[in-house]
Symmetry: C2
Subunit: 306 residues, 2 copies
Amino acid sequence: MTSETDMDWIAVDWGTTNLRVWAQDDAGRTLAHRQSEKGMGKLSRQDFEPALLELVADLLPAGGKRPVIVCGMAGSRQGWAEAPYKTVPCTPPSVEDATRVETTDPRLDVRILPGIKQMSPPDVMRGEETQIAGFLADNPDYSGTLCLPGTHTKWVALENGNIERFQTFMTGESYALYSSQSVLRHGLSADALDGAAYEAAVTRLLDKPTRFAAELFGVRAGGLIAGLTPEQASGRLSGILIGAELAAVRDVLDLSDVTLLGSDGIAKSYRTALNCLGHDARLLDAGTITLKGLALAFSRLSKVSS
Amino acid sequence: MTSETDMDWIAVDWGTTNLRVWAQDDAGRTLAHRQSEKGMGKLSRQDFEPALLELVADLLPAGGKRPVIVCGMAGSRQGWAEAPYKTVPCTPPSVEDATRVETTDPRLDVRILPGIKQMSPPDVMRGEETQIAGFLADNPDYSGTLCLPGTHTKWVALENGNIERFQTFMTGESYALYSSQSVLRHGLSADALDGAAYEAAVTRLLDKPTRFAAELFGVRAGGLIAGLTPEQASGRLSGILIGAELAAVRDVLDLSDVTLLGSDGIAKSYRTALNCLGHDARLLDAGTITLKGLALAFSRLSKVSS
């Protein structure tokens, strides 16, 4: 078992729903990985330090001080401390842009990385900028389109390693709402999406995006009177929503060279949708990419540290 | 006080959420109006008769039998008894299309009016067809577009009093979901919509419907970094959703002659959106129009009664 006293710094991905920490050593090894459900959404300002200590107190050396590099919603106005946004066009923020937080426990040296904003059209991200930094660590000077699928999918235009502009889509959240809360829930499958129904809906939407609002209730009516199975209904709903997203994205971004940060079912659905448009896309496992971005920030800490 | 023994028949509007009854006499007068929250969504098959009797048992004469004309979701497969759909093109269903239900209480003679379906594209309605019948009672041989705003707004093409085709939009339900359950809820006003923000969003959507999916998260980002007030955010969200609906409707229906069945805020919002397209629309108070449709069905009962 690795000795916990080797721990040099702590990486923290603090989202709305979850808190994830990695105890790291200088050589880039992960000595411990822990998480809890104490996401930003459940915490008041004074709850953040105790929530972090719950996960890492036993790892901190007595008398020492360890850097804690945080990304995500902990830096929002309702978070631990507001870390003001960088503004595009810009490189991903690093530790020199971070906001330091005073802690009660003297063993913590907390620095929260900022998110990124775009003034026109207005848009924001918090957390994804650190994934982008992790991606750029392996792909410096990248130019092309990056897609980070999720509850709020981000599409990002990069040029020579710079974030030029981006656009957020609520497609994941919309699917969750319609499939669990709306009248459509009665006819959907929770387990499986029919691939053919998905592709047909994507193609139909890309063909005629104005049909979007008309298509939604058709998912229910199709099940009631036209023999649409629950798997087909789920595939169709997903295709309608992602099709509408791509119809908006293709107007403003180059889709011929897309890298998808993710390898799960959602990322594959986006690739299939891009295929319907005649484009191939690269899937890149995003599992450790946030940690990579945080490590990049830590590596620059010695250069800027007070 | 009107004697309750004058009651000749009972009109019932039985939706997913609510049950509304009117005790009527032959001269078209309402002797009593009552309602409960025992909508179809909360009931099993055996619960329907008791739920109805809760509201009307004291009005029924001992030893007599009274017609009960029902419209709405009570006629769905999960309802009291399935009343199979009529198929467009068709006139609104009347009592000769109704499904009779056996009751335990011998004083009830229950007839459930069917809904209407459209095979291509698949669509269904249950309840609105009776509002349309009520509208046609005063406007026989009407040709034009009818809009019934609500949780699931229906757009209907009528020709000489025939229902030619229709299209359902989940715009009302979508607004409710996004404003109460999604990340957008943090920046919205529950009380007031800003009219200018509403019209600007409708116009932007009609101008470029492909932007729909891109606009949604902008409601949140606008509040976070661009000074969008909660009232403006609510107006904008409403405008995005109704704009997307109109962008789909105008492809398939004539919007130059629209009658809106409704006089509340939602109906007025639709009229404003049609104005943005350069069309005027007529508002028609829908308050008693379901009762009028049910009365029309009752008036034909003597002609078809067994």
